[in-house]
Each structure stands twice: as C-alpha cells, then as structure tokens.
C-alpha cells in the first residue's frame, strides 16, 4: 500500500509553517511500502496532526493524502474501517484505551475486530511477556500507569494485520530498557508482515534501522 502526500498543509498551522522549510509540509512525498520512516519534529510543528491526517481522523488540510492512488475522501466509512482492520495500524500519542476494559480486552478488541483474527489469542501473552506487562493484562485500563498503557497500546497495534504502522511518539513514557524491547518487537512484527512504519518523534534515535529520515 502506497501513501502519497501532495502539497499537504494543515490549515490552522499554515502561516507558521510557511515561514520555515519542511520535508513534508507543502511537498510531494511518497512513502514506499515496507520502508521504515522516521519523522523528526520539534514541538508544535504538527506531528500529531500529520499522523491524524495519515490515519484520516482529521481533515482540516489543503493538498491531498492519497492511499493507493486515491485520496482518503474517495473511500467510504466501511472501506476505511476495513483498511484500519487490515492495512493500517496505529499507536496514538494519547494511547486511547478503553478504561472500562481490561488491558487484555483492549488488545483483544483489535484482534477480534476482524472475523478471522490474524493472531491466536496466545500471541497476546507472548507479546505482553516481551514487553514486561504480563502482570497487568487483567487489570482495567483505568488502573494502568502511562508506561503500561503505552505498551498495551503498542501490543494492540501489533495484533492486527497491517502494511503500515503509524506511531506518534510511541516510547515517550518508556525507560531505555523497555524502549529497546518495544522497538525490537515492533521491528520483528513489521518484518514478519513486510510492512513499513512511520514514526514521529522529537529527537534523533537509534531504535530502528530507518530507511528514510524527514524533518517536519
């Protein structure tokens, strides 16, 4: 699945962004399938906004976000839902877990959203063990710490099939050791699917062997 940006520009940030150069905003950019993409951006330059545009939950932009050659607007709600179940996965900066569900249920939700789950249920325990969150799986989303929530959100994003994984500061609440573990798991899962990811962060890092670097 190819993602292409044409002259993309967030309307609220327009004036501010025109005064500085960017590799993404107002450019034509194509993200090649299967590539590991790092987008480095200082605060306030529209990191989260970009991720939301790519995932099509914000629409206040000029220019185009094209998926497989068609702009997002050309897909209907049910088609978009299918793509979010099969082609695009996401780790939100604000994580977005259901507080009324346990950690395991939050992950399962994405696993069983499709009629035929990509992974068996045991995979959740395996991934939780790798990220040191096995002990919180049965706790409700409400009682988890930020670091735990972040790892649950990462696992949730990895139990579904995808060709692209979008991540918005996915390690912001994790210590170095847990970051390494999470990054290794993400890299493994991407490779297993021949999938690529787009990761936004504030700084440079060596968590992944990135193919492309952009400055927002």
């Amino acid at each position: 699945m190819q993602i292409q940006l044409n002259q993309l520009m967030p309307i609220p940030l327009q004036d501010k962004l025109r005064q500085r150069s960017s590799d993404i905003w107002n450019q034509d950019v194509t993200f090649q399938p299967g590539s590991f993409v790092k987008i480095k951006a200082p605060s306030g330059t529209g990191k989260t906004t970009l991720i939301h545009y790519l995932y099509h939950i914000r629409y206040d932009y000029t220019g185009k976000v094209q998926v497989n050659g068609r702009p997002w607007q050309a897909y209907n709600k049910n088609e978009i839902a299918v793509m979010r179940q099969k082609d695009i996965s996401i780790v939100f900066q604000d994580l977005r877990l259901f507080e009324q569900l346990s950690a395991r249920e939050n992950i399962s939700l994405k696993r069983v959203m499709e009629l035929k789950p990509y992974y068996p249920a045991e995979k959740i325990d395996e991934m939780a063990a790798r990220l040191n969150v096995s002990h919180v799986l049965e706790q409700s989303g409400k009682t988890l710490s930020y670091g735990e929530r972040q790892r649950i959100a990462i696992i949730r994003a990895l139990v579904q099939p995808f060709q692209w994984l979008l991540m918005d500061e996915p390690f912001s609440h994790l210590d170095e050791d847990n970051t390494q573990r999470a990054a290794a798991l993400i890299a493994d899962e991407c490779k297993a699917r021949n999938a690529g990811f787009i990761l936004t962060d504030l700084d440079n890092d060596q968590h992944f062997p990135y193919d492309v670097h952009y400055h927002l």
Partner: protein, 397 residues
C-alpha cells in the same frame, strides 16, 4: 456470540433507560396482539359468512324492485327498471348472477275442478330456471303442451291454511293434495280465451310469486300479450353475501327494496366490522408509539456512548458492525414478542373456535395465514424502523 460483540457489550451500555425500553416492548406486544386479533376476527367473520361449513349464512337470492312511493302511485311505468338501471345492477360486484322477472301480459283465471267452487283472478311470473329452489322433472313446458307447471309461494299456502281456511271453516290442504289438484287455467286477452291445465309442482320459499316456466311465459306473452313488452319491474339476483353493507347501501341509494329480513345480518356485520376496525386502529396507533419509543431509545443508547463509539470507529470498527451489534441487542426481543403474541392469539382462537362450535358456527381452530402475514409485516416494520434509526445515528457519529 462473536468475541468482538462480547467486548462491544462492555463498551456500549444498552442498560440506560432499560425500563423505558421494556415498557415500549410491552406496548409493542399489546399493539401486535390487537392487530393480530383484528386480523383473526376479520378472517373468522369471513369464514362464518362464506365458508362452505356455514352454508346457512351464505349465498342468497334477492328479488329487487323499486320502492313504491306515494308519488309513484298510478304511474306503473315509474316502477319499471330502465335498461341502464338493469345494466348498472348487473355490473355490481356483489351480483353473482342476475335474472329478470318476467310478468304476464295477459289475464289469468284459475279455477279449481269439480265442486270446489274456487276461482280466482291471477297473474304469472317467470324467472330463469337457475334461480329456482324447486326443481323437478315436471318443471318443463314446450309448445303444444296443454299442462302448465306452476310453482306457488310457500307463504301462499300458509296464508290459506292458517289464516283463511280456519276463519272460513274450510279444510286445510296439504302440499301433496295441492300438487294432486288439477287446476283449470283460463288465459285470455281481449280477443281470445284458451283453457289449459295447471299443475302445481312445488312451493318456493325464495320467490314470492306464481311462477311458470320461462319457456311458457315467452310463448304466451307472444301469443296473448295485450301490451307490447311491458318492461321489467322486478329482478332477481344471486349474491354471495346478502349482508354485504355495499349491497344494502346500493339498494338504499337507488331507492330499491327487497326482502328486508335477508339483509338484517348486514347491520350486525357492520357493527362487528367497526369494532374490529377500531381494535386494529388502536393496535396501529400503539405500534406507532412503540416504534417511536424504540427509536428514541436507540438514539439515547448511541448518544450516551458517543465517545466510545467514536473511538471504536477510529480503531477500525465498521459502521456495519456497529449496526449489526446494536440490532442484535433489540431484535431477539421483538421476535420473542412476536412469538408470545402468536401463542396468545392461537390460544384465543382455539377457545373462540370451541365456543362458536357450541353454537354450530365453524371457524378454524388455528390462526390463519393472514395472522402470520400480520406478524411478519409488523416485525418487518419494526426491524426496518430500527435499522434506519441505527444507521442514521451511527453514521452521524
């Protein structure tokens, strides 16, 4: 249930306003019951009227004539049906078959034989044979026969036997005797007079007139007719249902009249129909309100889980999946309601059939096809309204 729906159950709380929902469900049940009862009562009534098991109440013959009013007296032409009027009667939906009553255009005098000293002026009428309730081998006449078969109204003999003969100290006569009496029939016009033998072949309950075969009537009218084609002032119809309010209304509207006794059932039927309609109408009103409450309930559920539903959609839940899940929360209850109402109606029908059977009125023991169709229709309507509501509010999120 799919594991995904089990998770949805924890996220989308359908518990809000549960009492309201249950009350709407009870309302739907009552509405369904009223509608089904109306349908079943209607088909029971039709069965009582039309089914072969209840033959006594069905098809009947009516002799129709214009009402003689004071204004018409002395003008016999005003009581005659015009060609258009006849065509109009003939084409009414309740007229199964139609015949003209032909009257004689000559003078008839009937004499009893021997020393009975009985002679009377009379008239003859004829109807097509298919309208007769008395048929026999003797009921035929062909040119050259000197014997005319005659059918008398049963009432006529009764009037004589129980009215006239008792007061005049005359002997009562049995039907057999009358049939055995050879009558002398004088037919005349102003020029000729001929004698024939009359032979009573039967007594009619259906037509109050002195009937001769149609073949004789047309021959005799031709031969002895004084006036040329006097026209028809009485017609006879066969109708599947003399209580049909349409028939009664038609007669009233056109100033026609018939044996009122045969129409008396009509009023009862009108009352029953009205009651059934009112019941059905209340059922429909109730159904409407039940649908309204269901729609509001669905709206409430979706509105109260708006954030959760938004997140589900963001995570990739298809609107279709949400619709299916939400409908699955409500539809089973509707089906249960449908089954319960069906059981109740079946019970009622079983009981009603038993009660009616004691009065020799046969209706089927089980609810008929219309009831099932009614259930399907109501459930279908409820489902569609639910589906549209769910779709509307899910898509608006």
């Amino acid at each position: 249930m799919r594991p995904f729906f089990e998770l949805l159950k924890k996220i989308i709380q359908t518990g809000v306003g549960k009492t309201r929902f249950l009350m709407a469900a009870v309302g739907l049940g009552i509405a369904m019951l009223l509608i089904l009862i109306a349908i079943q009562a209607h088909s029971n009534f039709s069965q009582l009227l039309y089914s072969s098991k209840n033959q006594n109440e069905t098809a009947d013959f009516l002799v129709i004539n214009k009402t003689i009013t004071n204004a018409m007296m002395g003008q016999s032409s005003k009581s005659i049906f015009t060609r258009e009027e006849i065509a109009n009667i003939r084409k009414q939906p309740f007229v199964q078959s139609f015949g003209l009553v032909t009257s004689s255009q000559y003078k008839v005098v009937v004499q009893a034989p021997g020393d009975l000293h009985f002679a009377t002026d009379m008239f003859f009428e004829a109807v097509p044979d298919s309208f007769l309730d008395v048929k026999g081998q003797d009921w035929k006449w062909s040119e050259g026969d000197r014997t005319i078969p005659i059918i008398l109204p049963n009432d006529f003999l009764n009037l004589y036997n129980f009215g006239f003969s008792l007061s005049q100290d005359l002997p009562q006569i049995s039907q057999e005797t009358v049939k055995a009496l050879p009558l002398q029939v004088n037919i005349s016009n102003n020029q000729v007079s001929d004698q024939y033998m009359g032979h009573i072949v039967g007594f009619s309950d259906r037509i109050s007139s002195f009937l001769v075969p149609a073949s004789f009537m047309s021959w005799a009218n031709e031969k002895y007719g004084i006036t040329t084609a006097a026209g028809t002032s009485r017609v006879i119809i066969k109708t599947p249902d003399p209580s049909n309010p349409e028939l009664v209304k038609f007669l009233q509207d056109n100033g026609y009249t018939t044996n009122q006794d045969k129409l008396k059932f009509s009023k009862t039927r009108l009352i029953v129909q009205t009651i059934v309609s009112v019941v059905g109408f209340f059922g429909l009103i109730l159904l409407f309100f039940a649908l309204l409450v269901f729609s509001m309930f669905i709206q409430l559920v979706i509105a109260s889980c708006k954030r959760e539903i938004q997140l589900l959609v963001i995570l990739g839940t298809a609107p279709k999946q949400l619709q299916r899940y939400l409908l699955r929360q409500f539809v089973p209850l509707y089906i249960v309601i449908g089954i319960l109402s069906l059981l109740l109606v079946t019970g009622l029908q079983y009981w009603a059939a038993g009660e009616l059977a004691q009065h020799e009125m046969q209706v089927s023991t089980w609810p008929g096809v219309p009831v099932f169709a009614g259930i399907a229709l109501v459930l279908g309507l409820v489902y569609i309204v639910n589906l549209l509501t769910v779709r509307k509010y899910v898509n608006n999120i």
